[in-house]
């Protein structure tokens, strides 16, 4: 049983998150229909409308899940009930009004019927990731303020906070306040894009690298209440925050190469954005170190799997696939092609896995039901389907994007040729997306079953499994090294488009082969790493290893 009544206030937020995740996947599936048969839906539900739903459902369900996790965690951290529980109920209501309102006004973009006031679009705006109109933005921002108020009032005084909590609060504050600049209408495209990236990029930096790192530091401290762990967590959180902040704030420059901003950004972005892989790699390595210190199995296996998902997608998807395309020389070719969603989909999945992990972590405690065999096996199936599906989807995007670069930027072929060149990979995208969707069904089923139906049965006890390469931590540094190498191969693949071998002699196999080796290789390494981490921790092999 949860210790505090106010922890149950997390449930409506969690429910909204699960529903919005469904909306996101449906919109994504319809987008895949567009890739395979462009005419079917045209005029009924336009591509840009579906994409707006796909992006915004993702953002809102991540917000919602984060709210849920924090509302669940704060009473435990402070040792008392939440302050202002009425406000939290109001917040839940406001969130639903916000989501319904924003989603209901998006279809107006099919007719272009927006309302403008004070030089701002009120109902929606055609800016990637920040499509919600000004009315909804204001509502959401009020929500942020209520939320911050509740959290800050409920927590113990800041003097007593561990660093992990500082990271969580600061990361969240950054994400909230930098929601503003991206949403202001600027007349000039460079200004508009410049500030839009403040919002979008710093969400990733603030929320993923800082706030999530803080959240998992806190979970570790709750699960393993040893003073030594707090020391290790404090130290790694500090370095993570410093490196993420410095590399992230200046590495922002990699969005400013070609948007009409001055050339010095190429220098700043080119140097510092490369550093962005460091905190994420550090996070992965520190996590192993901490895991090895754990003297017990972590009972909540589904949550554990998804934590591993953040780690692996953070390392492979965010850091290394980002490294492939962050250099000015490779970004020149890949910018504006399908290579970008390769990084985007794996990166966003790191967020998604974090949110799912938090939901799974809170659920058994709130319902006070055992973590039984079915819960675990459905949760694991959900994880593997989502993980592998997303990797197939993202890799298809990347390989299609490399062909697009040739036909688009080098040949200057008409758009129909580019669509044809990308078509075979659209099938891969649809297939991967289908796997993710089945994974979602497993996840939702396991959660709803646990929430609504009586669960009897023994708590899940992992079977005794013989140790092998796939369920121990052997050779992890080697695999990480291989992954870094593969990322550099991928960068070389994109860079090779500038060579005479490709431009003059047309040796297309060079970029194609290098990119295929890199992207498919990274996909395989990701699956290996996830398997090794997750199963080592599940079977408890890390305990004997120490």
């Amino acid at each position: 049983m949860a210790k505090f009544r106010s922890q149950y206030l997390a449930l409506p937020f969690a429910l909204v998150a699960v529903v919005l995740f469904f909306v996101q996947l449906i919109a994504g599936g319809l987008l895949a229909v567009y890739y395979i048969s462009p005419d079917t839906l045209s005029g009924i539900v336009n591509f840009n409308l579906l994409r707006t739903y796909h992006l915004n459902a993702l953002l809102f369900w991540l917000f919602s899940a984060t709210f849920a996790a924090v509302i669940y965690a704060v009473p435990v951290l402070s040792g008392r009930e939440l302050w202002g529980q009425g406000l939290v109920k109001l917040l839940a209501l406001a969130l639903i009004v916000f989501v319904v309102g924003a989603f209901a006004s998006f279809p107006l973009m099919q007719k272009g019927e927006n309302v403008w006031a004070f030089g701002q679009p009120l109902l929606y705006e055609g800016k990637e990731y920040v499509e919600a109109g000004r009315i909804w933005d204001v509502l959401l921002f009020i929500g942020f303020i209520i939320f911050s108020l509740v959290v800050l009032k409920s927590l113990p005084p800041p003097r007593e906070w561990p660093l992990a909590l500082w990271a969580l609060v600061m990361g969240a504050a950054v994400a909230f306040f930098l929601y503003i600049p991206g949403n202001i209408f600027f007349k000039s495209i460079p200004a508009s894009e410049y500030f839009r990236w403040w919002t979008v990029h710093y969400w990733v930096e603030g929320a993923l690298e800082v706030a999530f790192a803080g959240a998992f530091g806190l979970i570790l401290m709750l699960v393993i209440p040893v003073p030594e762990v707090r020391k290790v967590v404090d130290k790694y959180i500090f370095y993570d925050v410093v490196l993420a902040a410095v590399s992230g704030i200046l590495g922002q420059g990699h969005h400013y190469f070609w948007i009409g901003t001055p050339t010095f950004w190429i220098l700043i972005g080119g140097v510092f954005s490369v550093l962005e892989i460091v905190p994420l790699t550090l996070m992965a390595l520190e996590a192993i170190k901490i895991a090895k210190k754990g003297k017990a199995r972590f009972a909540n296996v589904p949550s554990l799997y998804y934590m591993v998902g953040i780690l692996v997608f953070g390392l492979i998807g965010v850091a290394l696939l980002g490294l492939v395309q962050t250099w000015p020389w490779t970004n020149w070719w890949e910018h504006g092609t399908w290579v970008t969603p390769l990084h985007g989909h794996e990166g966003m999945m790191a967020f998604a896995m974090g949110a799912i992990s938090l939901l799974y972590f809170a659920l058994p405690d709130l319902t006070n039901k055992p973590i039984d065999r079915t819960f675990v096996s459905w949760g694991k199936k959900a994880f593997w389907l989502m993980f592998i599906g997303q990797i197939i989807l993202a890799t298809s995007f990347g390989l299609g994007g490399v062909r697009q670069i040739y036909y688009y930027w080098i040949q200057g072929a008409p758009w129909s040729t580019i669509m044809e060149a990308r078509f075979p990979f659209a099938v891969g995208i649809a297939f991967g997306g289908g796997l993710v969707f089945i994974g979602y069904l497993y996840m939702a089923a396991s959660m709803l079953r646990h929430l609504l139906f009586p669960v009897s049965g023994e708590p899940y006890e992992p079977p005794k499994v013989e140790r092998n390469f796939l369920n121990t931590l052997d050779g992890i540094p080697f695999l990480v090294g291989i992954a870094v190498f593969l990322a550099l191969v991928g960068a070389a693949g994109l860079w090779s488009f500038s060579s005479t071998a490709v431009l003059v002699h047309g040796n297309l196999w060079i970029p194609y082969a290098l990119s295929a080796i890199s992207y498919i290789g990274l996909a395989v390494v990701a699956v290996l790493l996830a398997s090794k981490f997750a199963r080592t921790l599940e079977y408890g092999h890390h305990i004997e290893a120490v």
Binding site: N48, N114, Y124, G126, K127, E128, A191, I249, I266, A413
Partner: protein, 333 residues
Amino acid sequence: MGSFIYLKFFVSAMVTSLLLALVLFLYNARRRASAKAEEIPYRKLGKFMIIASIIFVLAVTPLSVDMADKRNPSPEEITYNGATAVEGFRVAIDYNCMGCHTIVGNGAYYAPDLNYIARRAGTAENIRALLETFVGSKYMPFNMTERQLDALTAWMLYLRDLNTNNWPPMPRVEIVEGAGTGAAVNETLQLGRQIYETNCASCHGADGRGVVPGTPDFTDPTWWDSVLATEGFEGLAAVVKNGKGAMPAFGNRLSDEEINAVLAYAQSLSGQTAQQPAGGKRLVFGGYSFEPSFEANKDRWYESMGAWYVYWVITVFFGTFLIYSFMYWYARG
């Protein structure tokens, strides 16, 4: 520049990284040995770095958004039929153009990049004609007013003129002194088409795919790439002039200018159409270059010496990182 870069570049980068790594390693070793370790080493340095980077970004923001430094045209000054580019941006926001297209490379990748289209179309008339063709079709099923189309035209002209460090990459236009500006290119293609249809279509096919066996497929861009790489435009012109195999010689029937026109038309069948040439110059199709298509984009920092300095710094950083981590790992055993 090539040999300088490849020899001195890597040697100097590697030596610097090695030295840096060594210094770091020795410094850390001494630090560990001498004092009792702080709880969190480098705590002050870390905090300072965060604050310094925030201040830096805030300081360069006015430069970056054209407040302090006029790098881009003003959207209010660009107009078409009385509609300004700002008005066009509002229309673009109302119809969510970014949800399918990309703008300066950011967006949905489902439709072509708008800066790219604007630069290829070149003139306001061409942009307007494109908009008229596609708006209302199944690709862009919208009902827009004339005023909205004018506004979008102005906005696309603004996008064309942004100084984007010469991105996106454009197919090559080899510029030869001679005839033809914007309108003349279309005239060239028109002329080429007439000549093609009367002289060439019977064997090569009206669509360029070839009727008689042994004729090449003009719609295949790779054929053009290979033949332009091996024989070049001049070689092709010589074939038309003197004939080859079953193909008769056209040198006595067509002038040089007409031969160029018909070749340009034939190549345009492959989709490698021309963009706007600079004034007073003739267009030759094919291949690829970074040749700036566009006045405001002449600076190509990308290929300059400055780019190599950046690359050097990055290489040194990574070299140091790799060597240092190897040392660290070796020392720990």
